[in-house]
Every structure is written in C-alpha cells, then in structure tokens.
Symmetry: C2
Subunit: 187 residues, 2 copies
C-alpha cells in the first residue's frame, strides 16, 4: 500500500484552482474533505453525561458522547449511535445546540442537546467499549481540567448559556478560536 | 489507477463493526465519510438570490450558492467562498438556518441565512464560472419547477417560515424525507 500511495501527488488538476491528491498515472483525484463529528450534551435533571475515554487520543480524559458520522446515516442517527456505543444510552434529541469548525484538523462538529429516553431504566447508561466510565455531573462537579478536547469545554458553556430553554441558532466557535486552529494545551 | 483500486475490497477490519474499503495487501483502511455542503439563502429586500447552474449535475436548473466545504476552512468561510465563486457576491452571514442530511448520497448540508454585504455595489452580484445567470427572486417568482435539488426547495421553505425574524434551532429535513433518501423526481 505504501508504494501505491506514493503514486499520488498533490497538484492542481485541469479546471481546478487548488492542489488535489492526484494519481500520477491516470489523473484520478482523491478528494479530501472535512469530516463530520456528531455528539450530544445529554442532560438529566440539570446534570450532564460525560464519558471517560478508554481510547486514544486523550485516553482517561472526559468527553461528551460523540464521534465520526458514518456514510448512510443522518446527523441525528449518528448522534444516537455514538451515545449508544459510548454510553449504552438511548437518547431523545432536542435539536442542534452548536456547530463548530476545527479547521486545524478538518472537522465540523454538530452538537445536539439531548435527554435520556429512559432515565428510569436500571441502568440508564453504562460504559461502552470505548469508555472507562460514564457519569452524570452537576455544573460545579465538571472536571474542567480533565476534559478531552477544547470543543467539549465550548459545548458545555453553550449548554450553560441556553439551559433547558428554547434553542436559538446554533452557537459557533468562541471568539478566541473562531477558526478552530488552537491546539489543546498539554495534549 | 483502476487496477490499483481493484486491490481495495470492502471487509470488516479487526476491532471494527462494519465494512470498510480495505487494501488487500496491507490492510490500510480508506475511510469513507459523509461530505459537507455549505450554502446560503441570500436575502435582499425580501428577495432571494438564485444561481442557474452552468455545470452538471442539473445544468440549467436554479440553486442557492452552495458547494463542498474544503479542508482548512470553517463552515462560514466555505459558505462565503461559494457565494463569491458562484455569484461574485460578498455576504454577511446571519446564522445557520437549516442542517439537512442526504443519507442516500452521504451529504450533510449546512445552510446559512445571509445578506449582501454591499447591496449598493454595481453590480452587487454576477454569474461566476459555474453559473449561467444569477438573479433575485421574490417568493412568487421562484421557479419551483426548475430548482436543481430537493434541498433547495426545503431551504427556501425554511427561509419562508422564519423570514427576517430571529433564527431558531436549525430546521432539518422535512417529515416526508427525514433521512434524505428520495431521489429527485425527473433528475
């Protein structure tokens, strides 16, 4: 595979205006596009559900249930799947709380506000294979210094701003990182 | 290239739960992900800006300025770039009006409501290389039978519902096509 990949080089195909990963032999263009992450701020009686990551990157750090959207699903289906996989939780989605662009790594993150569909179930959630631990945190209990990614911090603040109230237009990146180019301190 | 591509087959890699495009020789996984389309409903004095497509698919049909997001840009930057390229228009973005999933073709569409940044400029917009014609249409003038894609219809209805008022949570697919799986009639 490594020798095959070496036959692709970055050049500007005819009729385009920027470099593309192009096959040296036949000109096939392998388009590279931003990837979509879908996730949920899951709220149960004022507390938020966080998962401690069992996988790299940022193993041991806390995040909301979120991950790469798959082909063939909707953003809603992707967010529900990630919560099922990472937190063994069935959700009801309220709507889109925030849309972030992380230009540095080519990601768009679509974040929902959600509730547990069966909060009375025993258990209502549990650690999936990619989580070490899943817990509900009140605002004052959130382990801010142990969050996995900047956007987890952003989306918790976005939830704080809107609470249980009506969702407005989705929040975007904070002014301090409008393009999503700041690396995570200490990561 | 065609012989090289033939060395990839769809199978389930170790530790995963679904088929991936995998190199038969070394196991390299070429992840396939949904692509992001960014676009804008551009409103000027109650009229909406539409572009008649100069390229396939749907050459000759009308659409809003929209296209594939590129690596290294934000959703906002992508929407501004598309309006510049297709309609030679500088925009001010209000916020996200709608987020659609087109599962059939692996797309997520992030649609903004926007205004012309310099409506007094002469011209304030013009056909770019991918457009045959760019025009403002009042609601009653919209060429409904000649719209390029279902989501153009959806987003015009979404704009109609919200008008110039405050944007709420983004609208999603209409109930009749919640997953974005219906092909365009006649296309």
């Amino acid at each position: 595979m490594s020798t095959e990949m070496a036959r692709f080089t970055r050049r500007i195909p005819a009729g385009e205006d920027r470099e593309r990963l192009t096959c040296d032999e036949c000109g096939f263009v392998a388009y590279e596009n931003p990837k979509i992450v879908v996730g949920s701020v899951v709220v149960e009686q004022g507390r938020v559900l966080l998962c401690r990551r069992a996988i790299e990157p940022r193993r041991g750090f806390w995040t909301i249930p979120a991950g790469y959207m798959e082909l063939g699903e909707t953003v809603q289906e992707g967010a529900l799947r990630e919560a099922r996989e990472e937190a063994c939780a069935a959700l009801a989605l309220d709507g889109i709380l925030a849309v972030y662009s992380i230009a540095r790594i080519g990601q768009v993150q679509v974040m929902f506000r959600a509730r547990l569909l069966h909060p009375e179930a025993e258990p209502a959630f549990a650690a999936g294979p990619e989580s070490l631990e899943v817990r509900l945190f009140g605002w004052e209990e959130i382990p801010w210094a142990e969050l996995a990614f900047p956007s987890v911090h952003w989306v918790l603040e976005a939830w704080r701003a809107v609470g249980d109230g009506p969702l407005g237009a989705p929040q975007g990146n904070p002014p301090a990182d409008r393009r999503g180019v700041q690396p995570l301190a200490g990561a």
